[in-house]
């Protein structure tokens, strides 16, 4: 393999480059991205940049400072428009085509939007989005409606509220972060936001945006009208795979890979758009998380140039910061799992809770208890008996 093209210069793409170089690959690497500048580090976009405590230019990816070491040809402002996977021929938006020996697909995802776009209605994905919303907050809006209480929505709500703005969260599910959290932890997040003065509306959707020249409010599916001069939608993302239609790759809510992130011979995928069968959990996962992008990207890069690898099967882990709470979750959790607080309490916003399925502990959440979150993540890399997990915290199984 002499020439690898990486499509996407965000976290997963550059982590793949790093993985290739660490494997000793000294061939040519071309990185293309449709963005005009190197994509930012995303976690601060809904937190510090939005909150005005970090300058936008400081939100740089971990690999940004090491671009020279990585020895790449970086082509910004150029996107891939189509691929023929069998010949690894890529058409680019500048009209050129390239044939590569290896390909890393890391084009990420794009945010879903509310129907009926109006000025004053935003999504948050790019640095420009974050800067634009922060500028709106500088104008001291009367009320912000945040649609969706997933990661982005919950963090945006917390950041806006911390800036003193009145905030309403509208979430169609019964609980915040329902996709990734068991119910009682979702309840903790609801209580956290309400205690901070956020108006949290659950189990209700948006039926329409109100306003003519600019958003003036939202109408909910139960008929309620909420006045708002700023609306931020955090209603999920769609894998950016449109350019891969007809490529020969299997698409299905992302790029479908094998256990080693291989999507086709000489083609790997990583990051928000990569779906792969996780050997340990016996199901296909697609993970939209920062740490996964780094770990999976690095793995995919090594896999591509070294040709063989153990299956990619890490214990998922993520964190979110809301108000004074740093919440970390390790493991693979379903809404019906039993939850047991084993350390601290939700009332003091400092606790560890374990998740049980049958005889095993399958996950842990820690709020302001980071050391326990990472220790549990390490333990969860092997099957962990419930009793053993409790014993780690000095708790009897009763």
């Amino acid at each position: 393999m002499r020439h690898v093209i990486v499509i996407g210069a965000s976290l997963a793409g550059l982590a793949a480059v790093d993985g290739m170089r660490r494997s000793g690959f000294d061939g040519r690497i071309t990185v293309v991205d449709s963005a005009d500048s190197l994509p930012p580090d995303r976690p601060p976009l809904s937190k510090q940049v939005l909150g005005g405590t970090m300058s936008p230019e400081s939100a740089t990816q971990p690999m940004a400072a090491r671009l020279d070491d990585l020895d790449i040809e970086l082509c910004l402002g150029i996107g891939a428009t189509s691929l023929d996977a069998a010949s690894r021929r890529i058409a680019l938006s500048d009209g050129s085509t390239i044939v590569a020996d290896g390909l890393v697909i890391a084009t990420g995802a794009t945010p879903r939007t509310l129907p009926g776009a109006l000025p004053g209605v935003f999504t948050l994905r790019t640095l420009e989005d974050s800067v634009a919303i922060a500028a709106e907050l500088d104008l001291e809006p009367q009320r912000v409606v945040v649609v969706g209480a997933g990661f982005i929505g919950a963090e945006v709500a917390a950041t806006c509220r911390s800036r003193g703005v009145e905030v309403t969260i509208v979430e169609a599910q019964d609980r915040p972060m329902q996709r990734v959290m068991p119910g009682s932890i979702g309840d903790f997040i609801t209580t956290l936001h309400r205690d901070e003065g956020v108006d949290v509306r659950l189990g209700v959707g948006i039926s329409s945006l109100l306003g003519s020249s600019r958003v003036a409010g939202v109408k909910l599916t139960d008929g309620t009208v909420i006045d708002a001069d700023l609306v931020v939608a955090g209603i999920g993302v769609t894998p950016a795979t449109g350019w891969l239609e007809g490529s020969g790759l299997e698409l299905g809510d992302g790029v479908v890979c094998d256990e080693t992130m291989l999507a086709a011979p000489g083609v790997v995928a990583a990051g928000d758009l990569a779906r792969w069968p996780h050997r340990r959990y016996g199901e296909h996962l697609r993970i939209e998380q920062w740490d996964n992008a780094i770990e999976q990207g690095g793995y995919a890069g090594r896999r591509l140039v070294s040709g063989s690898a153990e299956p990619f099967a890490p214990v998922p882990w993520f964190w979110t910061d809301q108000y004074d709470c740093k919440l970390q979750l390790a493991g693979r959790v379903a809404p019906g799992d039993e939850v047991r607080v084993v350390d601290g309490s939700t009332a003091e916003r400092r606790f560890v809770a374990l998740f049980r399925r049958d005889a095993h502990c399958i996950g842990a959440v820690a709020v302001n208890r980071a050391r326990h979150a990472v220790q549990m993540r390490a333990k969860l890399s092997e099957p962990l008996l419930w009793a053993d997990a409790l014993a780690h915290f000095g708790v009897d199984d009763r």
Partner: protein, 63 residues
């Protein structure tokens, strides 16, 4: 080889501790402690991984 942490950036996410507990320890007070500021060469690749995966980019490895 020297590993340092910028405590203005560090949020004690403890990722580094997961990667190399011999050098990084987040204690009950939620602060990160560097157990060995001049760690042995055998830890280099894990130190580099810790630097790379710190969500706050608070770690620096110098030769």
């Amino acid at each position: 080889m020297r590993i340092t942490v910028d405590y203005d950036l560090c949020e004690s996410n403890a990722i580094c501790m997961a990667i190399l507990p011999e050098v990084f320890e987040v204690r009950e007070d939620d602060l990160l402690y560097i157990l060995d500021e001049f760690p042995p060469e055998e830890y280099r690749s894990k130190l580099e991984e810790a630097v790379r995966r710190c969500p706050k980019q608070a770690l620096t490895l110098e030769d």
